[in-house]
């Protein structure tokens, strides 16, 4: 799957595109893990505007990367999710792990 990653110092903005399921989640996970080898990064901002579909496989990826980031004392945000993606994020408590800025 296509993932655009922009880094500004300690902040990494991640913009996945298309459908996130168990099949594509592996690619997303590998990409993010390789970017997170840069130990300076302690904030990940996910922009979900180009994600047309996501099932709970995506939650596994977000929670796994959150573990890495929070172990560094870092933070996460998730924004611009479409209705169904938003519902899954809400149900699984992902927003409760985000910083105030993205909580609606």
């Amino acid at each position: 799957m296509k993932v655009t990653v922009k880094k500004r110092g300690r902040v990494m903005e991640v913009c996945p595109e298309g459908e996130i399921d168990q099949h594509s989640a592996g690619e997303l996970r590998e990409r993010l893990d390789s970017e997170l080898e840069d130990k300076r990064i302690d904030r990940v901002e996910y922009d979900m505007k180009a994600v047309s579909f996501m099932d709970s496989s995506g939650i596994g990826v977000l929670l796994g990367r959150y573990r890495t980031i929070s172990a560094r004392g870092g933070t996460m945000d998730v924004k611009n999710a479409r209705r169904n993606v938003e519902l899954i994020l809400r149900m699984s408590g992902v927003y409760s792990l985000c910083t105030e800025r993205s909580r609606q």
Partner: protein
């Protein structure tokens, strides 16, 4: 209106997208809303993922998906002949996963329940699992 479609496919994660697409195409005959289509796609994806990852895992096998239309009622049956579920109640519990190492979130059944009207699970260890999901579609004014 009555219709059905039965499919079987190899237990591969790449077939999740195919299964979602087939289910969505079948649902078009209900004249569903965009939201309803998206709900069905999500629930089907969860059920098929469970069959591929938990039912068969590395051993592989065949996943069956059956779609039935009866009036405004859609029934989706996803089944595998894989390893089965020992404790269905535990498996359905939100955040429970038997595969934490695979970074599964444990939200699969909870998502199916949230997006469909009903979800039934039958399973026998060593024999396989059948998930039956129902949803009324196209009931918009």
């Amino acid at each position: 209106m009555k219709n059905f479609l039965r499919t079987s496919f190899m237990s591969l994660t790449r077939n999740e997208a195919l299964a979602r697409g087939v289910a969505a195409q079948f649902c078009l005959l209900f004249d569903p809303t965009v939201e309803e289509l998206s709900d069905v796609r999500t629930a089907v994806s969860e059920a098929v993922t469970n069959a591929v990852i938990h039912g068969y895992g590395a051993s592989g096998g065949t996943v069956e998906m059956e779609l039935y239309a009866d009036g405004d009622l859609l029934t989706v049956v996803v089944s595998d002949k894989g390893r089965g579920i020992e404790d269905i109640e535990l498996a359905r519990r939100p955040f429970y996963t038997s595969r934490p190492e695979a970074e599964r979130s444990g939200m699969g059944f909870a998502v199916m329940e949230a997006f469909m009207d009903s979800v039934e699970v039958e399973s026998e260890v060593g024999k396989g699992t059948t998930v039956t999901m129902k949803k009324r579609l196209g009931a918009h004014e």
